[in-house]
Amino acid sequence: MSALLEITGLTKQFPGVLANDNISLTVKAGEVVALLGENGAGKSTLVKAVFGLIKPDKGEIKISGNTMHYGDTAGVIAAGVGMVHQHFQLVPVMSVTENIVLGDEPRKAFFINRKAARAQVIALSERYGLQVDPDAIIEDLPVGMQQRVEILKALRKDVKLLILDEPTAVLTPQEIDELLIVIRTLAKSGVGIVLITHKLHEVMAVADRVLVLRGGKAIGFTSPAQSDEAGLAQMMVGRSVVLRVDKTPAKPGKPALEVVGLQVLDDRKLLSVKGVDLVVHHGEILGVAGVEGNGQRELVEAICGMRHRIAGQVHVDGAETKDLHPHAIHAGGISHIPEDREKHGLVSSYSIADNLVLNQFDVEPFAKGWVRNISHVNTNADDVVAKFDIRTPSAQNLASSLSGGNKQKVVVARELSEDLKVLVAAQPTRGVDVGSIEFIHNQLIAARDRGTAVLLVSAELDEILSLSDRVAVMSGGKIVAIVDSKDADRNYIGRLMAGLKE
């Protein structure tokens, strides 16, 4: 069988970064190839080059034997390459059928032939064994189902090669399992699949071959049969990585953060936190597990003073914190790693140095009275960049020049720079590479061991389970269970997250 995709010697130099260094990769029909690497390893550059979105300095890309050229994105798509993006490109208010045929609708005179469209979708779903309800409205569907629609949308265009970009980032454990089955089914039907990921167990579960990228270089091919998770991790970061977090048992002290009867509205003015009670003690990590969109974001924002509380209180060390005053709440001892680091965490057009003092630029030693002490800001930045291993040529570079993991390190470093009573960490390792995850995890444990109460909210169940001392499961705006992490059973928690009773 000839190769669907054949990349030879691809090299791309960006200013200051060699994004792809002489990378070669072939994908055959019916094969699942995982592209594994940390953020900034060059995965997305490689994919962009395949789509003709960037011009390689050297190398050749062939699809089904034909050489592809820079700028010919339409040609690449016509050759049968499809992509499912990490962020879905669906119209939420339209039906499954409408979304799948969008842009290439079957017509009858001037009108969309809805009957034919529906039939096409049903045929497509049967052909690949991907069950969907053709009449369901996208926004009513769970995320896993939305992703399935996205995959069908790609498959409809006679896709021979399907690229999946971090497809499991938003899924529940059960949905992930289903997706992995779907990937295998697709491969069996002859589609070549490129799976971009940094999650090792997915690679182990589904890939035929693995190309590990690190710092723009192809470290090598391996396969789940030849390697294990620890081996993959080592290839990925270039050293051995502790996958389970080493931590001593917690020594919980007095209650630090107490949330009582909290009720919060979401952006659509619907009640999304429906009376939550929580206590986090000094020196412990309480993890909040849950499928995204079950009120975790609103809970965190209300605790941190970023969202109005319609009922209930938040106490820190017994003192009530005021509503809607991030500054007052920060002064009261809550620190917060925000979920959306681009929006809330960073000023991307500021230097790393300025970002590192964003919440304390006006206090000693970074300011003396009214005047900023910029040399202190810069020495601080140099220290932190070294200590947190933030990969940048200089602390004076703009935050926008950093990769996702390094941006997150900037935020984490800043929020941990003071002695705190409470740290609220929302999705602290989302989109962060393995090396940085390990580092951030250790920082959270270290904060706990210094006596900080840590409230950890994450969509990654593994992260919750490995870091937390206690696990609270959130579903439908309520805490449905709190269990000791020693007794936590992955499947049991997964069912609770999905809203199933026992």
Partner: protein, 353 residues
């Protein structure tokens, strides 16, 4: 100043404005040619008049004085992410307030009367700015809308006040009395004293923006107000303060023009100064010092326009045409970049948002 800020002050900062001015002059020149005039002669007269002699240059700097302040006013707004279209209204309010204080308060020595009259200008300009700022902060009303509406309100209100309450007794023209000598700004080396105030203020503003916590607050709100809010900066207060300061500086522009050049309030005197401030701020890439050359250039065009008409037979409106073209070409790259990023990464923050 950190390195990153220095970086934002190199290539694009002066090359784009320079190219914009050159393209604008070429296009205006072609249009003159079509009209049968000699563009080289026109430009030569224009710039020889305003920059070719000491007397001409001092007239240019005189014209540039309120323009530096108007440009600075718009610049301060832009740095905090606000597009203050209302410099005109704020400047007029300041001019009227200053004129009133200048002719009503009698029996004061100059060292008391003059500062008081100037403070009146700053106060009224700032008040008008504060209205727009408060509406933005508490009601979310876009400042472009409110400042445009306030411009109209101020125009009508100042006409009404001058016609019915402050008109010079026995005078048919719509104008106030002259300010008393004790409230007049002197000339220094045949330059209006206001020019030195304006330059000093621009320098102080630059230093504040680059080195103080208040400047950092402004800048942070301008670049990412969500991150600013999250970091504990009071975005509402910052927006209001920025609009108030912006208005106050525009008001000061009206004050120095009144006390140093016109000596009275007459609506036509201040026509368009505030709007020129927008062009100047964008030409100076929203840099407190960058606006000074822009203001001098535009001041020079204004100063040399009538002589150009006299010698080269080109209407003074050519200067308006030139300014419009400059504005067009200087904003085009900003606008494209704004839409490309659809974020708030440009020098001027999210001024179009």
């Amino acid at each position: 100043m950190t390195q990153s800020k220095k970086k934002s002050f190199d290539v694009g900062t002066w090359v784009i404005p320079l190219i914009a001015v050159i393209i604008a002059m070429v296009i205006a020149g072609i249009m003159m040619k079509f009209q049968g005039a000699d563009p080289f002669r026109a430009y030569k007269t224009l710039f020889m008049t305003s920059f070719g002699s000491v007397k001409g240059f001092s007239a240019t700097l005189g014209k540039a004085t309120p323009l530096v302040l108007a440009g600075l006013a718009v610049t301060i707004g832009l740095r905090a992410g606000l597009f203050n279209i209302g410099a005109q209204g704020q400047l007029v309010s300041g001019a009227l307030g200053t004129a009133w204080a200048g002719y009503t308060l009698t029996g004061l020595p100059a060292y008391i009367h003059l500062p008081i009259a100037i403070l009146f200008g700053i106060f009224f300009g700032g008040l008008v700015g504060l209205i727009a700022g408060a509406l933005k902060a508490y009601r979310g009303v876009h400042e472009v809308i409110t400042t445009i509406m306030l411009n109209s309100i101020i125009m009508g209100l100042s006409d009404y006040l001058v016609v019915y309450h402050f008109r010079e007794p026995g005078q048919l023209l719509t104008r106030t009395r002259e300010v008393l000598p004790s409230a007049r700004l002197p000339f220094v080396f045949s330059l209006p004293f206001g020019f030195f105030i304006a330059i000093a203020l621009a320098a102080v503003a630059w230093w504040i923006m680059a080195n103080t916590t208040s400047g950092f607050r402004f800048e942070t709100v301008g670049r990412n107000k969500f991150a600013a809010w999250y970091a504990g900066i009071s975005v509402k207060r910052t927006l209001m303060t920025a609009m108030m300061i912006s208005g106050g500086i525009a008001g000061l522009g009206g004050a120095v023009e009144t006390l140093g050049v016109t000596y009275r309030f007459e609506p036509a005197f201040n026509a368009g100064l505030g709007f020129d401030g927008i062009t100047i701020a964008l030409l100076g890439r929203a840099h407190p010092l960058g606006i000074i050359p822009g203001a001098i250039l535009i001041g020079g065009m204004r100063a040399g326009a009538s002589n150009m008409q006299f010698v080269a037979g080109v209407a003074t409106e050519l200067v308006d045409l030139l300014m419009a073209l400059i504005l067009f070409f200087v904003t085009a790259p900003l606008v494209t970049r704004f839409f490309k990023n659809s974020g708030s990464k440009s020098v001027t923050g999210g001024w179009g948002a």
